[in-house]
Amino acid sequence: MSITLLFQLLVNGLVVGGLLSLVALGLVLIFGVMRVVNFAHGEFITLGAYATYLLVSQTGLSPLIGVPVAFALGALVGWVVQVAVIAQVTSRPELDMLMVTYALSIIGLGLFAQGFGGDFRSYAAGPSGSVSLAGVMIGWRSLTVLLFSVAMGGATLLLVQRARIGLALRALALNRDAAASCGINVVSGERVAFCLGVGIAAAAGSLISLIGTTTPTVGHEWVLDGFVVVVLGGMGSIGGALAAALAIGLVQSFTSFALDDSWAKIITYLLLYATLLLRPHGLLGRRGAEA
């Protein structure tokens, strides 16, 4: 394998890994703070992708504007969903919460299928062509996605690690009751975590529409890999999720090249089973966090 090819595959893996880390970041935020596995996460990705597609194809604006628009739209819809539905069941058993986010997911799937049909949607506007870095050809679109992923992931990390609200979120994730007794507002903390998480998902969907085609199930496909990342990284561990996202991105990139896309998926899922069997608390997760 030539060194150029190696770098090419590396870059492809980083692009997928960057997007996966955004998806996983949202899932981890929501799971960490609310103890809810958001099965509807994929539909927020799809929402962002279609929002960007519509924006670009209807108004002719750059798809890069679609990223913040998708974020805002995702956060808004997330707020409504959180207040109207999720907040009603957060004190219920796990089964109920799973069923509620799952129900939201299939509601979304049906709506997208009804509204957009099974067509593959894409657009020509936005960055195009490619740039050559030391013999490695990188598409501008891929590079844009990579840069946006790093910027958004970095901003979220800063928010969680440095800002006051981030401190509150981390406290809630660590110990909900203790956080509440210290005066942290649990209800608004959960609301912020959910809005932020699904906002990031929608923004990721916007980026996905840039490098791929948009279908009613595009988010569903991405979120499955996102779940693998979250389990691999240890439920609720942000660092673990980021590391696992990059690892999965690279594994998929190299397997797709060496074998094919199906094998890339098969190996990804087998990694999930191996993790559950050998390290159920994930690669970097805390022991006991798997419960």
């Binding site: 058993p93 069923m99 509601i107 049906g110 299928a113 009804q114 999930l272 089973y273």
Partner: protein, 326 residues
């Protein structure tokens, strides 16, 4: 939260009723009912069998499975491959159940020692993984699928499915009233406390999951015979796992009658939407599931039964009902 059964006498009556309904449904082909009517009854039985299979594991224990569609698909493939290999019907059906149980052991062994969410994740990917692997295997026909070589009488899968649905419903009813059933519900209520009382949680969960997979595998097998041609993307579509879960959740989880109500409702909704808006079927089922979870969390059947009981009791307060009036 969990209503403990107290009327043991209700079981034989319920079983007799279930057998009578099943017998009547199974006799429809010979009673001159239109083939459209028969198809509706068939699908209700198919959904009921899948729903009871899911109910047996996930409804009773609270461990949510998204893998029941995969078990059904594996059962369908196993029975068609076996029959095409000139096996007799009974061994072929047995092979379908065994294949589904083996698949459930893969998930169970990796994740049932863990708590709920790890199990759910392990099931979530199983369907996709099975589909991807089936497409790669040499003897499954790849992406093109498989066709059943022999022509079976149409009543055979029909009667099979109704018998299976009835048997699964009766099994859930009997389990619900047994000592084992109480232990399982204790696990669902508080696993740590139940384990402390000496209940072997992992063994019970694994046994239930295997039984549940066997029923789903047989349902898939009967449906494979009914459909006679298997396309991997149809056999392993997410819809089947959704049916398995939505039917008991909507009708009433951890009860025998709930999935019956759920299955009939589901077939009704599907038929209505087939005409009006086929794509919206997911949305409507999702909305129904959401409304049930938010407002009738025990499901429709227990909610209706509860309100009838309250009304009867309310009316009986001034003049107590005579003994044995039920």
């Amino acid at each position: 939260m969990i209503s403990v059964p107290n009327r043991r006498s209700a079981v034989p009556g319920g079983i007799a009723a279930a057998l009578a309904v099943a017998g009547l449904a199974a006799a429809l082909p010979w009673l001159g009912v239109s083939s459209y009517g028969q198809t509706l009854v068939y699908y209700a039985a198919y959904y009921l069998a899948l729903g009871q299979a899911w109910n047996l594991m996930s409804g009773m224990t609270g461990y949510v499975s998204f893998a029941h569609g995969a078990f059904a698909g594996i059962g369908a493939y196993a029975v068609v491959i076996a029959l095409n290999g000139d096996w007799r019907m009974l061994p072929a059906l047995f092979a379908a159940a065994v294949a589904a149980v083996l698949a459930s052991l893969v998930i169970g062994a990796t994740s049932l020692r863990l708590r709920g969410i790890a199990f759910t994740f392990a099931t979530l990917f199983f369907q996709e993984l099975t589909l991807l692997i089936l497409r790669k295997l040499p003897f499954t026909g790849g992406p093109g699928g498989l066709v059943l070589q022999q022509i079976l009488p149409t009543w055979l899968p029909y009667v099979m499915m109704i018998a299976l649905a009835a048997a699964a419903t009766i099994a859930v009813a009997m389990l619900r009233r047994s000592r084992l059933g109480l232990r399982i519900l204790a696990l669902k209520g508080d696993e740590a406390a139940a384990v402390a009382l000496g209940i072997d949680a992992t063994r019970i969960k694994l046994a239930l999951f295997c039984a549940s997979a066997a029923i789903a595998g047989l349902a898939g097998a009967a449906h494979g015979l009914f459909a006679a041609s298997l396309y991997p993307d149809v056999v392993f579509s997410v819809d089947i796992s959704l049916v398995a879960l939505a039917v008991p959740m909507i009708g009433g989880v951890a009860t025998a009658i709930g999935p019956v109500v759920g299955a009939v409702l589901y077939v009704g909704i599907r038929e209505l939407l087939q005409v009006v808006a086929p794509q919206l079927h997911l949305t409507i089922v999702g909305l129904l599931l959401l409304l049930v979870m938010l407002f009738l969390r025990e499901g429709i059947a227990p909610a209706v039964a509860g309100s009838i009981r309250r009304r009867v009791r309310g009316a009986a307060v001034p003049s107590p009902a005579p003994e044995g009036s039920r």
